[in-house]
Every structure is written in structure tokens, then in C-alpha cells.
């Protein structure tokens, strides 16, 4: 089996994550799409690390995980506070800046 199969899987997962961001309205599900994209890039990093015999790719994947954890904490806090004030978790309803 070729290692590029892992890269194809990573790009398919990335595409599905991007499609989720484009198609879904629920802010939480949109957020999970972003998580899926980050994970797909992590899989590509790990595969490249193995392909080149260099652990730096794994270190970068580790940093991506840490940043994703911080991002989830802040993002979910924003979603919860928007839900408290507006009573909805849909990205269409968050148009305060527009009106």
C-alpha cells in the first residue's frame, strides 16, 4: 500500500469538513467541520513525517492539536454567550453587526 492513500483520505476528510462549514447552519456543527479540517491536516502531517523520516511533522501536528483545543474553548464560549443573548445557535441569526 502506498503512503499517498493516507493523503487522499486526509484530503477527502478535509473536503467533507469544508462542505460542512459551507452547508450547515447550526454554529456547533459548523465548528465541528472546522475540527474535522484540522484533523485531516494532522493526518497529512503525520503521513509526511513518516514519508520523510522526520519527526518534525508530528511536532507540528501536536501544535495544531493544542491550538485547536484553545480554539474550541473560546469558540464554544462565544456560541454559548450568543445563545444566551439571542436564543439561537444558528449562524443565520447572528446578524447584529448588519442591522
Amino acid at each position: 500500500m502506498d503512503l499517498s492513500n493516507y493523503l487522499v483520505l486526509a484530503s477527502v476528510l478535509f473536503t467533507i469538513g469544508a462542505a460542512t462549514v459551507l452547508l450547515r447552519r447550526n454554529a456547533i456543527i459548523v465548528f465541528m467541520g472546522i475540527e474535522l479540517m484540522l484533523n485531516a491536516s494532522n493526518l497529512a502531517f503525520v503521513t509526511f513525517a513518516r514519508m520523510h523520516g522526520d519527526l518534525t511533522g508530528q511536532v507540528v501536528a501536536f501544535f495544531v492539536m493544542v491550538v485547536a483545543a484553545a480554539e474550541v474553548v473560546v469558540g464554544l464560549a462565544i456560541i454559548v454567550s450568543i445563545f444566551r443573548t439571542r436564543g439561537s445557535a444558528s449562524v443565520d441569526d447572528a446578524n447584529l453587526l448588519k442591522s
Binding site: 477527502v12 473536503t15 469544508a18 519527526l55 508530528q58 501536536f62 480554539e71 474550541v72 464554544l76 464560549a77
Partner: protein, 265 residues
């Protein structure tokens, strides 16, 4: 490079992962989408271990499935399980354009990968000689030590940000048990707790409404969550029991109390 066993593992997991990821796009309920993503994360951890990255595999399970996805589940429970997607398009044709863009992105990515000739994999036997975590730590604490410090600051900032964002300033007086009881008496509603679900003589279930004294189902006896999710069952209709206000085919449901003989005399 990759052994036969790894190929079997990959071809078993990859289709399942893609199906579960599609569940994220297609599942109507947020909880189902979350569980699909949890499955994808666990499979990714297995693939990391198979790709000679055991440390990242364990971190993936601990951080992603253990912390991040459970946080997502908590927030879904907080925001409301019944918060489902609206199917109304605010921008016309947005759904179609979204699908087209998604498919286009996928085609571009896979097409590019198909045209690139990758070198034969080197493998990590040399780099992982002193075990994978030690090898990672050597790079992390030498080349990336400044980035590690920055990430530490970032995590502290994120924690404080989450605390301040979700902090609620108390603008009104605290509502305790006494105030709630007073409000309930003043409101004039039902003072007693809501009726318990279930028709005890025949059934003992959460999703069956209780019957009132006249045999009518009590809407308020079934939990709101079950009603929202459409899992409420109707009360069983027993032909033997006739309602008091229903005259029925054979006269009044309850005979008038029989007069005793000494009353007549």
C-alpha cells in the same frame, strides 16, 4: 514500506471514516453529528498509531475524543437538544453552490495528489529509535521551545477568555427558594408538582401520559424533551373504561346511586 496488515487496517477504517464524516454533513440532529465526529477521531487515533506516531495517537484520544468532543456534547445539551437546522435558505442557491464548491475542492485536492509522484517512504525506525515520545520531546524542547512557550500563554489566555465570555453579571436580586415559591403562589398557576407520567394500572413508562380523573391524557405529565423529540406515545385506550363525561352508547357511564329502600319508604 507499509505492511499488508496496515493495508488491511487502512482499507477497513478509511471507508468507515468517510461514511462517519458524511454523517456530519447529513445528520439532522446535532448529537448524531457529534457522535459521528467522535468515531472519526477514534479512527484517526488508530491510524496515527499505525503510522508510527503512538504519542500523537494517545494525545488524539485524550484531547479530541476525551475533551473536545465531550465539550461539544456539553454545549449541545446546554444550547438545547431540539436546536435543529432550519431548511430555509437565506441566500438563494446557497446549498447548491456549497455542494458544488465542496465537490470542486475535493476534486482539486485528490487530482493534485494523483499527479504528484511521492518518494518512497523513509519510515521512522531511525527517528523513533529511543521511542517516539522521547524523539518528539527532543525536537519540541530544542527547535520549538519558543513556540511551546507561546502555546502555553495561548492556553492560559483561552481559559481566561472562556471564563470571561461565559461570565454572567448578576443584574437582579438573587432568586432563592422563597422568592420562587412566592412567585408561584402569586402567579396563580398549579402549586403542586406536575403530574407523573405513566398509566400505572396498565403501564409504567416515561413516554405515556398519565390520565386525569376523567380519563383524559394529561399533556403536562410527559417530559418536554420527549415531546420535542416526538417520542411521546398516546395514552392507551381501554374500551372497558368509559369516561365520566362521555355518555357512551348505553346511557350514562355511571349509574346514579341506587336509592336505598328505607329512603323510599
Amino acid at each position: 514500506m507499509a505492511s499488508g496488515a496496515e493495508a488491511v487496517l487502512f482499507w477497513c477504517l478509511a471507508p468507515l471514516m468517510v461514511i462517519a464524516a458524511l454523517g456530519l454533513v447529513l445528520a439532522r440532529k446535532a448529537v448524531h453529528a457529534t457522535l459521528c465526529v467522535v468515531f472519526v477521531m477514534v479512527c484517526l487515533a488508530v491510524l496515527y498509531v499505525a503510522q508510527e506516531a503512538p504519542f500523537l495517537g494517545i494525545v488524539q484520544v485524550v484531547v479530541y475524543t476525551g475533551a473536545v468532543m465531550m465539550l461539544f456534547l456539553f454545549v449541545i445539551m446546554l444550547v438545547g437538544v431540539d436546536a435543529s437546522d432550519s431548511l430555509v435558505e437565506t441566500i438563494r442557491g446557497q446549498r447548491l453552490v456549497g455542494w458544488l464548491l465542496g465537490l470542486g475542492l475535493g476534486a482539486v485536492l485528490v487530482g493534485v495528489l494523483g499527479r504528484v509522484a511521492f518518494p518512497e517512504g523513509v519510515g521512522l525506525e531511525v527517528a523513533n529509535e529511543v521511542t517516539n515520545p522521547v524523539g518528539l520531546a527532543r525536537i519540541l524542547l530544542s527547535d520549538f521551545v519558543f513556540a511551546l512557550e507561546i502555546v502555553g500563554i495561548l492556553l492560559v489566555t483561552a481559559a481566561i477568555a472562556a471564563l470571561t465570555l461565559t461570565h454572567k453579571q448578576r443584574l437582579t436580586a438573587r432568586v432563592g427558594q422563597k422568592e420562587m415559591a412566592d412567585a408561584r403562589v402569586a402567579g396563580g398557576g398549579s402549586l403542586t408538582p406536575l403530574p407523573a407520567p405513566g398509566v400505572y394500572a396498565q403501564r409504567n413508562a416515561m413516554d405515556v401520559p398519565a390520565l386525569d380523573a376523567q380519563g383524559r391524557p394529561l399533556e403536562s405529565s410527559v417530559s418536554r424533551v420527549l415531546r420535542v423529540r416526538g417520542q411521546e406515545r398516546s395514552a392507551p385506550v381501554d374500551p372497558q373504561i368509559r369516561r365520566l363525561d362521555d355518555p357512551g352508547p348505553a346511557g350514562p357511564a355511571v349509574d346514579p346511586p341506587a336509592r336505598t329502600t328505607e329512603e323510599e319508604s
